[in-house]
C-alpha cells in the first residue's frame, strides 16, 4: 500500500478510467505535451496518444462545447479548465447548452469539467476562485468537491461514469498537502450525492466541503480540548446535496455551523440553512450559523487573503459561541 497525494489520487482515477474505457478522452489547455499546469495529466499524452489527450486553443467555450458534442455521440470527454476561474468563460455553454440538453432534447451529455479551484495559496483574484455557487443554481449539472485522496480518486471515476454532466472541483491547496494510503488495485468509486462523516461528535455539527473540511477537523481537535464535541460532515457532492446526511447530523447534535471558503452572500450555506429550517426546525437548539469568506474579491497579499478567507480560529470561535448558546 502506497501513500499518495491528493493530486496522485486524481491522476490515478483519470488514468484508470482511460485504460478501462477508450471512449474517455481529455481536452484542455496545455494538458498534453506539458502535462497540465499542475501536472495532473503528466505522461498521459505519451501513454494514450495525441488523439485522446488534446491540447486545445485558449477557448473555454469551445472546449466545453466540443466536449458536449462528442458526448452526444457516445464519447466520455474530460475537459480541464487550467484554473477553474476560467470556467466563467464557458458559463453560457455549461448552463444553457450542456445543463439543459437532456431535459429539452433528450440528449445525453456525459462530460466532466474539472479544474483547480480555491485559495489559501496567494493566487489573487483570478487563480483562487470557488465557482460552485454560480453553477449550484443550474438544474442539469452535478457538482462534486472532494477533500480526501480517496474521494479525489473515487469521485473522478464516478464522475466519468455518470450519465450526466459533472463539475469536478479540486482544491489546489490540497493537491500536494494531503496524503493517504490507497491500496493498489482497489476499485474506488465514491457515490455521487453522498456525504461523508469526517468526525463524529455530539455538541454541534460542522457542515462543510473542500479545503475547509481540514480546517474544520483542526478546529474540532482544538474544541475537543475545551470539552466541545464537534461533528464534521464532508459534503463531497454539492449538487445534489445529501439532504438526509445533513438532516441526520442536525437531529443528532441540534446545532449547525456551516463552513465554506466561498463568499457569504448567495453561497451554499444559505441553501443548506433553508433546508435545515424546512426539515429540522424543531430539532434546533440554536441559530444556524455560517463561517465563510468575506464578500470581497480574493486579494493577493498574505495579510489580506488570510483576513478574507475563513481560518481555523474563526471556526473555533463560531463553534464555541454556538455550543454555548
Amino acid at each position: 500500500m502506497a501513500e499518495i497525494t491528493f493530486l496522485e489520487g486524481l491522476r490515478q482515477g483519470l488514468r484508470e478510467e482511460m485504460e478501462r474505457d477508450d471512449r474517455v478522452f481529455i481536452l484542455g489547455e496545455d494538458v498534453g505535451a506539458y502535462g497540465g499546469a499542475f501536472k495532473v495529466t503528466e505522461g498521459f499524452q505519451k501513454q494514450f496518444g495525441e488523439a485522446r489527450v488534446i491540447d486545445t486553443p485558449i477557448s473555454e467555450a469551445a472546449i466545453v462545447g466540443a466536449a458536449a458534442g462528442a458526448a452526444h455521440l457516445g464519447m466520455r470527454p474530460v475537459a480541464e479548465m487550467q484554473f477553474i476561474d476560467f470556467i466563467s468563460c464557458a458559463y453560457d455553454m455549461l448552463t444553457n447548452y450542456v445543463a439543459t440538453a437532456r431535459y429539452r432534447a433528450g440528449l445525453p451529455t456525459p462530460i466532466v469539467v474539472r479544474g483547480p479551484c480555491g485559495g489559501y495559496v496567494r493566487g489573487g483574484p483570478f487563480h483562487s476562485q470557488n465557482p460552485e455557487a454560480a453553477f449550484f443554481h443550474t438544474p442539469g449539472l452535478k457538482i462534486v468537491y472532494p477533500s480526501t485522496v480517496r474521494d479525489a480518486k473515487g469521485l473522478i471515476k464516478s464522475a466519468i461514469r455518470d450519465e450526466d454532466p459533472v463539475l469536478y472541483l479540486e482544491h489546489k491547496w490540497l493537491y500536494r498537502r494531503i496524503k493517504e494510503q490507497i491500496p493498489e488495485g482497489e476499485e474506488i468509486l465514491t457515490p455521487i450525492g453522498s456525504a461523508r462523516l469526517a468526525r463524529a461528535g455530539t455538541d454541534l455539527s460542522i457542515i462543510t466541503y473542500g479545503a475547509t473540511v481540514w480546517k474544520s477537523l483542526e478546529a474540532a481537535e482544538l474544541l475537543a480540548k475545551e470539552g466541545v464535541s464537534a461533528e464534521v460532515l464532508d459534503l463531497r457532492t454539492l449538487l445534489p446535496l445529501d439532504d438526509d446526511a445533513i438532516i441526520a447530523t442536525v437531529k443528532k447534535t441540534n446545532k449547525a455551523l456551516i463552513v465554506h471558503e466561498d463568499t457569504r452572500t448567495g453561497g451554499l450555506a444559505g441553501e443548506i440553512t433553508a433546508r435545515i429550517s424546512e426539515r429540522a426546525f424543531e430539532w434546533l437548539d440554536g441559530p444556524i450559523m455560517r463561517v465563510t469568506a468575506h464578500d470581497v474579491p480574493l486579494p493577493y497579499a498574505p495579510t489580506l487573503e488570510d483576513f478574507v478567507l475563513p481560518q481555523t480560529d474563526d471556526i473555533v470561535k463560531a463553534a464555541r459561541w454556538l455550543a454555548s448558546y
Partner: protein
C-alpha cells in the same frame, strides 16, 4: 450529356444530380414553404403557442446545402438554425413533428419542453440549436472531432447567421475546428438582417467568407437563392471534408423576406429591397430552371405541389387536436438519475 452520343434533347444533368433528385429537391422546397404557410395560419388561430419564424426566401439555401450531405441512419450530421426548417426536412424530420413542436404538444419530439425547430435526432443526424447563437459551432466541432477520432467517414454541417458571426462562440468553435481539421462544413447565411441590425452595424468586412479566411479556412461566396449553386458549393465542401481536408466555409448571400418573427412588421426594411428579392425567389427561380431546361414539365411540378399540400393537410389533421403535456411531466428527465425533480408540496395535482 458531355461526351454522350445520345440524341436525347435533355440538357446535361445539373450538378451531377439525377432527375429524381432534382424533383426531390423541388419537393423539399415546396414542403418547407407550405409547412410554414400552414404554421402561419395556425399562428393566427393562436394554435402556435410561441413565436413563429419564417424562412421565406431562404428555403433554397437550407434545402440545397442539407441535400449535399449523405442522409440516413448514422450518416452525416447537421445543426440547423431557426430559418433552416428546410434542412431539417431534408434530414428526415417529419412535418408533423414540426407542427407538434410549434403547438407544444405532448407528442412533440421534446414533449412540449422546447419550441419550433429546437429538437434533434441523433440517429438521423440533426441536432437542435439553442437560442444562444454561435453555440452550435463548438458543439458541432465536437461532433465532427468524434467522427475524426473514430475514423468514421462522416461530415458535419453547421449554419451561422450574419449576426451570429459576431459571437465569441462562433470564433472559438471555428478556430478549434480549423486547428483540429474537423470534417465540418459551415454555412454562413448572409441574409441582411439580424433581427433589425444590418451587416454594416455587425461587422466591418464585406463578406462573411473574409472572416473564415482569417482562420485558415477556405471559403467561398455563392448566390444563396440559386439552389443548384448552393448545392454544388456545399457538395464540394462536404466531399473535401470527407477526404480529411478539414473545415470549409460556404457563404450564401440571400435575404430575409419576413420579420425576425411573425410579430415583427419589419418596418426597418426598405420596400424596394423586399420587392427586388421577391422577384428573386429561390423556389420560383428553381422551378423556372427545371421547366426551361426540360428536366421537368410544369405538370410534374404541379403534381408535387398537390402532394405536398395533401401531406401538410394530413399532418395538421393528425396533431392539431392532440393534448398539451400533463403538468407533472415537467419534473422528469433533468438527469438520468434521479429520474425526476422533487415535486414541491404546495403544488396541487394536475394543474
Amino acid at each position: 450529356m458531355p461526351g454522350s452520343t445520345s440524341v436525347s434533347k435533355s440538357p446535361p444533368i445539373p450538378a451531377g444530380l439525377s432527375r429524381d433528385q432534382l424533383l426531390e429537391i423541388y419537393r423539399f422546397l415546396r414542403l418547407t414553404r407550405v409547412l410554414e404557410e400552414r404554421l402561419t395560419a395556425l399562428y393566427k388561430q393562436s394554435k402556435v403557442i410561441g413565436g413563429l419564424f419564417r424562412s421565406l426566401g431562404q428555403e433554397g439555401e437550407s434545402v440545397a446545402s442539407a441535400y449535399a450531405l449523405e442522409r440516413g441512419r448514422h450518416r452525416d450530421f447537421l445543426s440547423p438554425l431557426i430559418r433552416n426548417l428546410g434542412s431539417l426536412l431534408v434530414m428526415g424530420a417529419r412535418p408533423v413533428q414540426i407542427l407538434r413542436q410549434y403547438m407544444a404538444k405532448d407528442q412533440s419530439p421534446t414533449r412540449g419542453r422546447e419550441l419550433n425547430v429546437h429538437f434533434g435526432d441523433l440517429e438521423l443526424g440533426y441536432l437542435g440549436q439553442i437560442s444562444h447563437l454561435g453555440d452550435m459551432v463548438p458543439v458541432m466541432a465536437g461532433v465532427t472531432l468524434t467522427f475524426k477520432m473514430r475514423r468514421e467517414p462522416r461530415v458535419g454541417l453547421v449554419y451561422i447567421g450574419d449576426g451570429a458571426t459576431s459571437t465569441g462562440a462562433f470564433h472559438e468553435g471555428l478556430n478549434f475546428a480549423a486547428v483540429q481539421r474537423c470534417p465540418l462544413v459551415v454555412i454562413g447565411e448572409y441574409n441582411g438582417y439580424a433581427y433589425s441590425t444590418t451587416p454594416d452595424r455587425q461587422f466591418a468586412v464585406t463578406n462573411l467568407a473574409d472572416k473564415a479566411k482569417g482562420y485558415g479556412i477556405p471559403a467561398v461566396t455563392v448566390d444563396g437563392n440559386d439552389v443548384l449553386a448552393v448545392y454544388e458549393a456545399t457538395k464540394y465542401a462536404v466531399d473535401r471534408a470527407r477526404m480529411g481536408k478539414g473545415v470549409h466555409f460556404v457563404e450564401v448571400k440571400t435575404f430575409r423576406r419576413k420579420g425576425h418573427a411573425e410579430h415583427d412588421d419589419q418596418h426597418y426594411v426598405p420596400k424596394e429591397d423586399l420587392e427586388r428579392w421577391a422577384k428573386n425567389d429561390p423556389i420560383d427561380r428553381y422551378r423556372r430552371q427545371l421547366v426551361e431546361t426540360g428536366w421537368a414539365e410544369a405538370r410534374d411540378l404541379e403534381d408535387i405541389d398537390g402532394d405536398v399540400r395533401d401531406e401538410i393537410d394530413q399532418a395538421t389533421d393528425a396533431c392539431v387536436g392532440e393534448p398539451l403535456p400533463p403538468p407533472e411531466s415537467a419534473l422528469a428527465g433533468v438527469y438520468a438519475h434521479p429520474a425526476a425533480a422533487e415535486r414541491l408540496w404546495f403544488r396541487s395535482a394536475s394543474g
